[in-house]
């Protein structure tokens, strides 16, 4: 199933944290079938940018448009299309993997049944751990539970903040193939990672954010 065409446009984005401007006059346009790799040294504002793009953070100036409309105005129509995985896993430690995914699927408005969820967890390499409270899982296993959402969602825009962290080699490969799949289906992926990304189809665009600590005047 291919996603309908979509595009994310950013014009004149400016974000200030503390007394430093992380970026001023940032312009961007990403379309279906593209992957945006945001790069830059520690502290240059990658996480901040990603959070602004999902609407979790209100930028000081600039517009973020989804299919030509401001994401603020779109509200829930935009959040339906986006999935964000950040530094925090966003899973409840007291719930099992299954329960976590069931809740997030319901809230995301994805109609999936339990079989699909079991399946997703198995695919992501958590067979045998589905029924444990995620509290007792290791760092990488917790991350996998969070990533399993990618298998269930129909969101067009994936925003992934360092998704490869804490994963072992096999899991990294699995995630890469998921990303490739999303781009091939005509989705959009925005991610940060300190390693290289390869795609078999679609375009990779990279955005290099400046040096940390650099103070750019208005």
């Amino acid at each position: 199933m291919r996603h309908a065409d979509a595009c994310l446009q950013v014009t004149g984005l400016e974000v200030q944290r503390g007394d430093r401007w992380l970026f001023t006059d940032l312009d961007l346009a990403i379309e279906s079938g593209e992957l945006l790799h945001v790069r830059g040294p520690n502290g240059c504002g990658k996480t901040t940018l990603l959070r602004a793009l999902c609407g979790l953070l209100l930028p000081q100036a600039g517009e973020i448009l989804w299919n030509g409309e401001s994401i603020r105005r779109l509200g829930e129509e935009f959040t339906r299309d986006v999935i964000y995985l950040g530094h925090l896993n966003g899973i409840k430690h007291e719930l099992t993997g299954i329960e976590n995914l069931r809740v997030s699927a319901t809230l995301d408005g994805d109609r999936v049944d339990d079989d699909a969820i079991w399946d997703a967890l198995e695919q992501i390499g958590l067979a045998g751990f589905e029924d444990l409270p995620t509290m007792v899982l290791s760092q990488g296993q917790k991350k996998r539970v969070a990533l399993a959402r990618l298998l269930l969602t129909g969101a067009k825009l994936w925003v992934l903040d360092e998704p490869f962290v804490a994963l072992d080699v096999k899991a990294v490969a699995r995630l890469e193939s998921l990303i490739v799949g999303q781009v091939e289906r005509g989705g959009i992926v925005i991610l940060t990672t300190h390693q290289e990304v390869a795609l078999t189809s679609g375009t990779i665009r990279t955005l290099d954010l400046g040096q940390a600590g650099q103070v750019r005047g208005r």
């Binding site: 007394d19 209100l58 103070v215 005047g217 208005r218």
Partner: protein, 252 residues
């Protein structure tokens, strides 16, 4: 007209405007304050008769009533600026709200203090859980809550918006709170308004009271403008206009 309005809502313009106005407000406050005190201490009777006779200590009334009124008025102002900020998202309105709060808290503290220093000679007790006193104490808590929340958040924008929200929630609740304290038993609310022990108030006393209140009001303008200027500088550090302003001030 619209252009005008936007013009003064920019921190840069307002910085200069406030700077020019502060001396005038201070002058007004000083003049009316001196007149009020002169009138209050020399043009009023030494004692009051009536059902509850008051000796010289009734002269506390001028600070007391002035500060009590200002404490309530400034909370309204604070909430109004906050609402304005949340609706129009103008930075200056948040800054105004933040800069009014400490002055409001100061007047509340002063009203509480003068009230209890009046209560001791008049009622024989420093404190009584009378509705009016309790309301004032709660107003003080609301101010402290606002200030505490604002200073507990490091990110200036989040602090502004979060405390603006609590100010408005407070404003919605204030009438209910005050009413509930004034009327703890809804079955007997009709008998609520006790008559003032001062009887019909002497014209001179009223004049001094109003004059001091006006003086406090001007003082509140002056100090909140001073505070807003500091806040503007802190927030806008590094911009060109601040640099130019600094040069100007260095020359002076």
């Amino acid at each position: 007209m619209k252009f005008h309005w936007l013009h003064f809502s920019s921190p840069a313009t307002f910085y200069g405007l406030a700077g020019r106005m502060i001396p005038w407000f201070f002058a007004l406050a000083l003049v009316t304050g001196v007149v009020a005190l002169y009138w209050g201490f020399f043009q009023t009777p030494d004692q009051l008769g009536g059902s509850n006779p008051q000796k010289e200590y009734y002269r506390i009334i001028f600070v007391h009533v002035g500060s009590a009124w200002m404490s309530m008025w400034l909370y309204l102002v604070l909430a109004a600026w906050s609402a304005f900020g949340l609706v129009f998202n103008t930075r200056l309105s948040y800054m105004m709200a933040v800069s009014v709060a400490p002055t409001g808290a100061l007047f509340t503290a002063l009203a509480l203090f003068t009230g209890s220093f009046w209560g001791k000679p008049s009622w024989g007790t420093w404190w009584d859980w009378d509705p009016r006193l309790t309301s004032e104490l709660i107003l003080f808590f609301l101010y402290i809550g606002y200030i505490a929340l604002h200073s507990a958040i490091d990110d200036a924008r989040r602090a502004d918006r979060a405390s603006a929200l609590i100010a408005i929630v407070g404003l919605v609740c204030v009438p209910i709170i005050f009413w509930s304290i004034n009327c703890p038993d809804p079955n007997q609310c009709a008998a609520l308004h006790q008559r003032s022990s001062m009887g019909s108030i002497d014209g001179n006393i009223l004049f001094a009271m109003l004059a001091l209140t006006f003086s406090f009001w001007m003082y509140a303008f002056a100090t909140s403008f001073m505070r807003v200027r500091s806040i503007i500088l802190e927030r806008e550090a590094g911009t060109t206009w601040v640099n130019e302003q600094l040069e100007l001030e260095a020359k002076r």
